[in-house]
């Protein structure tokens, strides 16, 4: 069954300065369809969507909605045409209530007066939220909502403006598993009611599960549009990277000598929340994956090893000696790449160079002065070794893509030559190309004897990189699995959900 086409973008062109970002791009969207838009960073996805939502104006080409040509010169025009963007970084006012946010600047008035009819506003808000099948109090202040609910309020706001086309940019990147499930349910409900959705995401599994069609962009061009049902992950990856460029995101069986000494030993660790009794070792040269649900305490374990948190009881031994505090951890060679790189990993307004120097300051400082020439060599080496795509060391890190920003955070620690590297969700918001480069880098460091702890919610990633996978459940290590013995992602998934024994995975392709 082919549904009618609601949006037709053809021949879209856009340049910034003399750099052509979009070269005759075509994109079409059917009524009631969830259409994935994929591509590496810099492929042109967000530029295309910014043209659709009126943030940028196009240099050429046409946009048809319901067969009628539309000019979306600004966001207000896009809104009138029924297009709304659900922002990655939310555009809600935290201090206002849910209803106030939904109707911001469009509040219902008492007839003939400038006064806002609060009761009516609440009634309408409740109606929309009910339609979405969610239980949110219209009077609740937005600041108290979880990220998942904030996103739903964003969607409600768009629907209240009679939007028929929703653009969702990485909607699940900061959602928990339960929230993600709820969002998928909501997306399916929207779809059933005839809303069309453009869905931007880097997560393959998610896209194959949720979307009807996929369009892949590369270097400012549309390289593929196809039905999801006919596609495999490999085909999408190949389309994104170009034939032959697809570095394998697959597991390599590595040998960690049995005689290797444990670098870090976590002994009966108990933290004030979530973690009751956790023990494990990581040997030199070993890559250990830490799996578990969001909020299961994985990050807290990482921060305790890094000396940022105190244990209620139990201890963390590094080379057999307890870690006193963060300064001690860093000095002795522990490095942490935190989950939220923009918040905890980078000084965004500083250059690539300054960010890489920061954790290495004392090494480059002689008699109070920073030896910039010496440091620059290290910075250049780091940029080269990690293949960070930047115009130069002095480019502001804010201007780099997510994948390259993450490489800076990893690189700044690798420049210290740490003995234990902890990576907390290292590839969130990182495109597939950079993702496999990061995996390669980590593997190469482990081959040189570094111990690695990888925390990830992406099972694919854990399966690709780990030698051993620890499953955290109910405040304990529920399972300690040799990667060799885990055949499929399903097995790992079962373990994470709390099944005591991995079920034999049937029907896994």
């Amino acid at each position: 069954m082919t549904r009618p086409t609601i949006l037709e973008m053809t021949d879209i062109r856009k340049s910034f300065g003399n750099i052509a970002v979009l070269k005759r791009v075509a994109f079409s969207l059917r009524k009631g369809e969830v259409h994935a838009l994929m591509g590496g960073n810099g492929a042109g996805k967000s530029t295309l969507m910014k043209i659709l939502t009126g943030v940028y104006s196009r240099d050429g080409g046409s946009v048809l909605i319901d067969g009628q040509p539309v000019e979306v010169h600004d966001t207000a025009a896009a809104e009138r045409a029924g297009v709304a963007m659900i922002f990655q970084e939310f555009s809600l006012v935290p201090t206002l209530t849910v209803a106030q946010n939904i109707f911001l600047k469009r509040e219902p008035r008492f007839a003939g007066t400038p006064f806002i009819n609060g009761a009516e506003m609440k009634r309408q808000a409740r109606l929309i939220l009910e339609e979405l099948g969610v239980d949110i109090d219209p009077d609740a202040p937005v600041s108290g909502l979880s990220v998942g609910y904030m996103q739903i309020v964003e969607i409600a706001k768009a629907l209240s403006k009679k939007a028929r086309i929703l653009v969702m940019d990485e909607p699940t990147s900061s959602l928990s598993e339960a929230e993600t499930e709820a969002l998928f349910e909501l997306v399916n409900r929207l779809k059933a009611s005839g809303i069309s959705i453009v869905y931007i995401s880097h997560r393959m599994a998610e896209i194959l599960k949720l979307c009807d069609r996929v369009t892949v962009m590369r270097d400012g061009e549309t390289v593929m549009t196809a039905d999801c049902a006919d596609l495999s992950v490999a085909q999408i990856v190949e389309a994104m990277l170009g034939a032959g460029n697809a570095t394998s995101f697959e597991w390599k069986d590595r040998q960690v000598p049995a005689t290797a000494k444990p670098v870090v030993q976590v002994r009966n660790l108990r933290l004030d929340k979530r973690i009751d009794d956790v023990s494990f070792d990581i040997k030199a040269g070993e890559i250990v994956g830490l799996a578990g649900l969001m909020g299961s305490g994985r990050t807290e374990i990482a921060e305790t090893i890094f000396g940022r948190r105190r244990a209620v009881s139990g201890e963390v031994l590094f080379d057999g000696v307890p870690v006193a505090n963060q300064a001690d951890a860093i000095a002795r060679g522990i490095a942490l790449v935190p989950e939220d790189r923009r918040k905890f990993g980078l000084v965004l307004d500083h250059s690539v160079r300054d960010n890489i120097i920061l954790p290495n300051l004392e090494r480059f400082t002689r008699h109070l002065f920073v030896q910039d020439a010496v440091a620059l060599q290290t910075v250049r080496d780091t940029i080269r070794d990690l293949a960070i795509k930047t115009d130069g060391p002095d480019k502001l890190s804010r201007l780099l893509s997510g994948g390259n920003q993450q490489k800076i955070v990893i690189g700044k620690w690798l420049a210290r030559d740490p003995r234990l590297l902890i990576l907390d969700e290292p590839t969130i918001g990182v495109d597939i190309g950079a993702k496999s480069e990061i995996v390669e880098t980590v593997r190469a460091m482990a081959d040189r004897g570094m111990a690695v702890l990888v925390i990830s919610s992406e099972l694919e990633e854990l399966m690709a990189i780990s030698d051993r996978i620890l499953v955290l459940h109910g405040g304990r290590i529920a399972q300690d699995m040799n990667r060799r013995d885990v055949a499929t992602e399903e097995e790992l998934h079962h373990a994470i959900q709390g099944h005591s024994r991995p079920q034999a995975a049937l029907g896994a392709a």
Binding site: V347, D349, L358, L361, L368, D372
Partner: protein, 324 residues
């Protein structure tokens, strides 16, 4: 690698015009200088005497502003510097009146300034109160203290070594006030730009959490910035008293705002993370030059205030980065 290099979309704001905006303070300074040279050059604006005069009257603001650059770059603010300057001046004067030599008095004044900085640092970094509030309260408290110690009576300073060293004297024909401000500016520039401490200040102000996670002890860094600020305020207070050969409770009134204006004019980000002492120095001179020129043009105080206030807003507007 290069096969995969793509034409990354650049937001229009990343185009070269950003460059010019970094130099807006120097451009404004040049324009103002040119304007006054043409209009009042023949009325003595360009005389060496007058140029030294500008340097003399801006010295205190410069000294305070240099330390303020550290505080603002670290993501904080210090409004207490004006009253601290007066406190240091009075301390200095009273200690000399009590019969001690000037080195003891100078030391006492510095201790007073450091004590205020220490209190500010304590409340901001250990109790966690925003520096705007802490130093606003401190500004008021210290000004009250200034008035209380001598019941608003001035303390005259007769020690000529002190006066000539800290304000009225010359070295090889160059006013000591100018030398002080140059020394402090150069020192500040070197520390902010070339030392590990300077980098830590900027990283702390740029993203405190990221700095923490990179091993920077951000509380210690901020505390140090407040100590610097207190010490600089004390020096500024001594420069006031050396110039006036007396110490008064009302020294440095409004100096905190002038200093902040100079810092921001110079291109330092009000939100931290980005700062230059050279810019601050130019910003301070710009304010001093405007005030001086307007006086020579014959504007009265009310008109001077309006014009210089307007110019400050204009200059900051031109220097604004277009990115949201």
């Amino acid at each position: 690698m290069q096969s995969k290099a793509t034409a990354a979309p650049r937001p229009p704001s990343a185009l070269p015009k950003v460059q010019l905006q970094n130099y807006v303070v120097y451009i404004f300074f040049a324009v103002v200088l040119l304007f006054f040279s043409v209009t009042i050059g023949d009325k003595g604006f360009l005389s060496v005497m007058n140029l030294f005069n500008i340097a003399r009257t801006t010295a205190m603001i410069t000294v305070i502003a240099v330390a303020m650059t550290f505080v603002i770059s670290a993501g904080e603010l210090d409004l207490s510097v004006g009253s601290t300057a007066a406190l240091a001046a009075l301390t200095c004067g009273l200690v000399m009146q009590a019969g001690f030599g000037w080195p003891v008095a100078v030391l006492a004044a510095l201790v007073a300034g450091l004590a205020v900085g220490c209190l500010n640092g304590f409340f901001v970094t250990l109790i966690g109160i925003p520096s705007f509030l802490v130093t606003l309260g401190m500004m008021q408290f210290i000004r009250g203290l200034d008035m209380r110690v001598t019941y608003t009576n001035p303390v005259s300073i007769s020690n000529q070594s002190f006066n000539s060293l800290f304000g009225s004297g010359n070295l090889f024909g160059v006013p000591s006030l100018l030398i002080w401000s140059l020394v402090i500016a150069v020192l500040g520039h070197v520390v902010l730009k070339y030392t590990g401490f300077g980098r830590e200040i900027l990283a702390t102000g740029g993203n405190r959490m990221a700095a923490e996670y990179s091993g920077v002890k951000t509380r210690r860094v901020k505390f140090a910035a407040f100590l610097l600020s207190g010490a600089a305020a004390a020096l500024a207070g001594m420069l006031y008293s050396g110039m006036m050969q007396t110490a008064r409770f009302n020294f440095g009134e409004g100096a905190e705002l002038m200093a902040i204006a100079a810092v921001i004019l110079g291109g330092t980000s009000l939100f931290g993370g980005r700062g230059t002492i050279l810019g601050t120095f130019a910003g301070s001179l710009l304010i001093g030059t405007i005030n001086n020129g307007l006086i020579i043009m014959g504007l009265d105080v009310s008109e001077q205030m309006m014009v210089s206030g307007g110019i400050i807003i204009l200059a900051v507007a031109f220097g604004k980065k277009p990115t949201a």
